[in-house]
């Protein structure tokens, strides 16, 4: 159980996380929604930190705030989506939403019920990790990832490389006639090539 300062911070972060999550769906302006989503992510990351899972906290910030939320912002700002219109018919989906919610709650109950019903659960989910005080979990993950699973880790890297090559091959188009900036040429110019002095007769243009 959390006590003292840790408990105070837990309630602070949890309250802000829940409140900002509510604001994500309540805000009228979609840009505000995304910003509240980012606030939710930050508070969730802080909650992870409180439980000692600093690797998850970092990943949450790097991946979700750094990449996903920024992507959302791009989409919201670049696409002219009329959210008021989208939300207009939302109420008619409420029964389906409620059904999905009930199913999720039931599943949660089954999972959490497992702890109470089966005495072995605690033993079988015991963490196969060293004590956190001895070596923190980012280092422990790195120990395994770069030794036992270095093979899988490297292949995963190659898979991502193929994904990158594929995306470029299939979508990049070189436009004809685009003028590109050639810095070397610009720097190599001096006053003799840059300026041309001409004699202009009066009453005539060049």
């Amino acid at each position: 159980m959390l006590t003292g300062l840790a408990a105070a911070f837990f309630y602070l972060f949890a309250l802000i996380a829940v409140a900002s999550a509510v604001m994500v769906i309540a805000a009228r302006n979609p840009v505000h929604s995304v910003l509240f989503l980012i606030l939710t992510f930050f508070n969730a990351a802080a909650l992870f930190l409180l439980t000692g899972a600093e690797f998850l906290a970092m990943i949450l910030l790097v991946v979700y705030v750094g990449a996903v939320a920024v992507l959302f912002l791009f989409v919201v700002m670049m696409l002219d989506v009329d959210f008021a219109e989208l939300k207009a018919g939302a109420l008619q989906y409420a029964p389906i939403g409620a059904l999905v919610g009930i199913i999720l709650v039931a599943e949660l109950a089954v999972v959490l019920g497992g702890y109470a019903l089966s005495p072995n659960v605690a033993a079988s989910v015991a963490e196969p990790m060293r004590d956190l005080a001895e070596r923190h979990n980012t280092a422990q993950l790195g120990d395994i990832l770069y030794t036992d699973y270095v093979y899988a880790f490297q292949i995963a890297g190659l898979v991502l490389l193929v994904a990158m090559i594929g995306a470029i091959v299939l979508t990049l188009r070189h436009k004809e006639g685009v003028k590109r900036q050639v810095i070397a040429d610009q720097v190599a110019r001096d006053h003799r090539t840059a300026i041309e002095v001409r004699k202009v007769e009066s009453g005539k243009g060049i």
């Binding site: 030794t147 036992d148 699973y149 270095v150 093979y151 899988a152 292949i155 995963a156 190659l158 898979v159 490389l161 193929v162 994904a163 090559i165 594929g166 470029i168 091959v169 299939l170 979508t171």
Partner: protein, 479 residues
């Protein structure tokens, strides 16, 4: 301790390292040297793949690497040899097409290399984790090359269709793997087999096995997971189709063989039912589906579905002779397929490549050499003795008979009789129909592949002994 382990691991995986580093270097070279260097890069890619092949044949020993994720044994090396030959020949054959059809992008050889790397990792996978990663590396590169001709609607459709169905099959495979992991507690093939042998087989494991086989059957385009094959074969650019028909089939078949005869060896009776079913379904659908086809690439798609069915007959037997039969079948299938696709790539008129079977009408009078070689290949694909295709079918059917799978062997023979119809129809069109305008002369590299393939098919009986011995050494890995 760790460094010694790593040194052994790296020496066992040296061919893979050569291909991986080579692909990355060629990628850099292509990026910095611009679009004109594509044929140079194709040449370098061929050189690197042949280098990896030679290194593998001469310097790699048996052993396990990377904590059992990777294995090198005679079976793996032989199948990798076949996959590498498939890739090299495809790259060689693509050069002429690339120039003629504006296909000359340096990314093509790079993606083919990375896909080949994925195949080598699949063949050597001894762990469900490395199995999945190798499979994805191979498939992802294949999705991209299927859609490589991005301005063609058919090519993009082929890529998209292959991608969506491939993602679905990966999902099934992963679900199966997670079930097997859940019920055995292991990801390594050997550990899975030990756990199954010591415990009792249960429903969850059978579910896992079936899902894994479904995911892998998609990759060898066995019925009922074959739906993508005709459309992708037809839509993809022809060198890509040749690649699809040759190298990935070797890797996926090797993976099926390894999974069932290593990880699930104690559950022989369970997987045998599945293999028998998909084998019969593939043979029958391959035979009947091809009858109505007018496009030769679509015809080859149905032909490959059928041939995968025949190869699985050997696996269904589950014996040493059966696996040996599968290996022999894949060797002969590779030779016949590469030859046939060299021919399809050589089907050029002034206005461009042609793909309809009717375009071959009267080829015997306009180009008798080509017509003769294709006739040999078609007779061989149909399984007429004494050509190679007959001995391939002979070896798998004999293994099935020895394992008392008489019904399977009889259905296989009947399906190959039906299948002979459409191969013979091509021969009839070439020799007995009115000429429909000749084809352009064959390019040198295509002629070479065509000639070698025709020679191998015709004179297989001479090399049958050594190939049978090599295949038996490979099959002994599992028995």
């Amino acid at each position: 301790m760790m460094t010694a382990d790593l040194a052994t691991s790296l020496s066992l995986a040296a061919p893979e390292l050569i291909v991986a580093v080579g692909a990355i270097v060629l990628l850099m070279l292509g990026v910095f040297s611009g679009p004109k260097a594509s044929s140079t890069i194709t040449g370098l890619a061929v050189a690197i793949l042949i280098g990896a092949l030679a290194w593998m044949v001469f310097f790699v020993d048996d052993g396990k690497a990377f904590n059992g994720a990777f294995t090198s044994d005679p079976f793996a090396r032989l199948m990798k040899l076949l996959a590498l030959i498939g890739s090299v020949v495809t790259l060689v054959m693509s050069v002429g097409f690339a120039k003629a059809e504006k296909f000359d992008k340096f990314e093509f050889p790079v993606l083919v290399m990375l896909s080949t790397l994925g195949m080598m990792l699949m063949i050597s996978a001894d762990d469900t984790l490395s199995l999945y990663l190798g499979l994805e590396l191979q498939s992802l590169a294949l999705y991209v090359v299927a859609a490589f001709n991005r301005d063609s609607v058919r090519s993009t459709e082929a890529g998209l269709k292959y991608f969506v169905l491939g993602a679905l099959s990966s999902g099934m495979l992963l679900y199966g793997i997670s079930l097997v992991y859940g019920f055995t507690g292991h990801t390594g093939f050997v550990a899975i087999a030990d756990t199954i042998a010591n415990g009792d087989r249960n429903l969850g494991l059978i579910f896992g096995l079936v899902f894994i086989l479904a995911g892998l059957a998609f990759k060898i385009s066995a019925v009922p997971f074959h739906m993508w094959t005709p459309d992708v074969y037809e839509g993809a650019p022809t060198p890509v189709t040749a690649f699809f028909a040759a190298a990935p089939k070797m890797a996926a078949m090797a993976l099926v063989v390894r999974v069932v005869s290593e990880a699930f060896a104690p559950m022989h009776s369970d997987w045998q039912q599945v293999i028998v079913f998909i084998s019969i379904a593939s043979m029958v659908l391959g035979a009947f589906g091809a009858i109505g086809q007018r496009n030769i690439k679509r015809l080859m798609a149905y032909s490959s579905i059928g041939h995968m069915g025949y190869a699985l007959v050997g696996l269904a037997a589950g014996t040493l002779a059966g696996v040996q039969g599968v290996v022999i079948y894949m060797i002969i299938y590779l030779a016949m397929t590469l030859g046939t696709f060299a021919f399809i790539l050589a089907m050029r008129r002034k206005e461009g490549n042609v793909e309809q079977i009717d375009d071959l009408a009267g080829l015997s009078s306009t180009n008798p050499v080509m017509a003769t070689i294709l006739t040999i290949l078609m007779f061989s694909l149909a399984g007429i003795p004494p050509l190679a295709g007959f001995w391939a079918k002979w070896s798998v059917f004999l293994a099935a008979m020895e394992a008392n799978l008489f019904a399977l062997a009889v259905i296989g023979v009947l399906a190959s009789v039906v299948g002979a119809y459409y191969y013979l129809r091509i021969i009839k069109i070439m020799w007995f129909d009115e000429p429909a305008g000749g084809l352009q002369p064959v390019a040198g590299e295509l002629g070479l592949v065509l000639g070698l393939s025709g020679l191998f098919t015709l004179l297989y009986i001479v090399v049958a002994g050594p190939i049978g011995a090599v295949a038996q050494t490979a099959a002994r890995t599992f028995f």
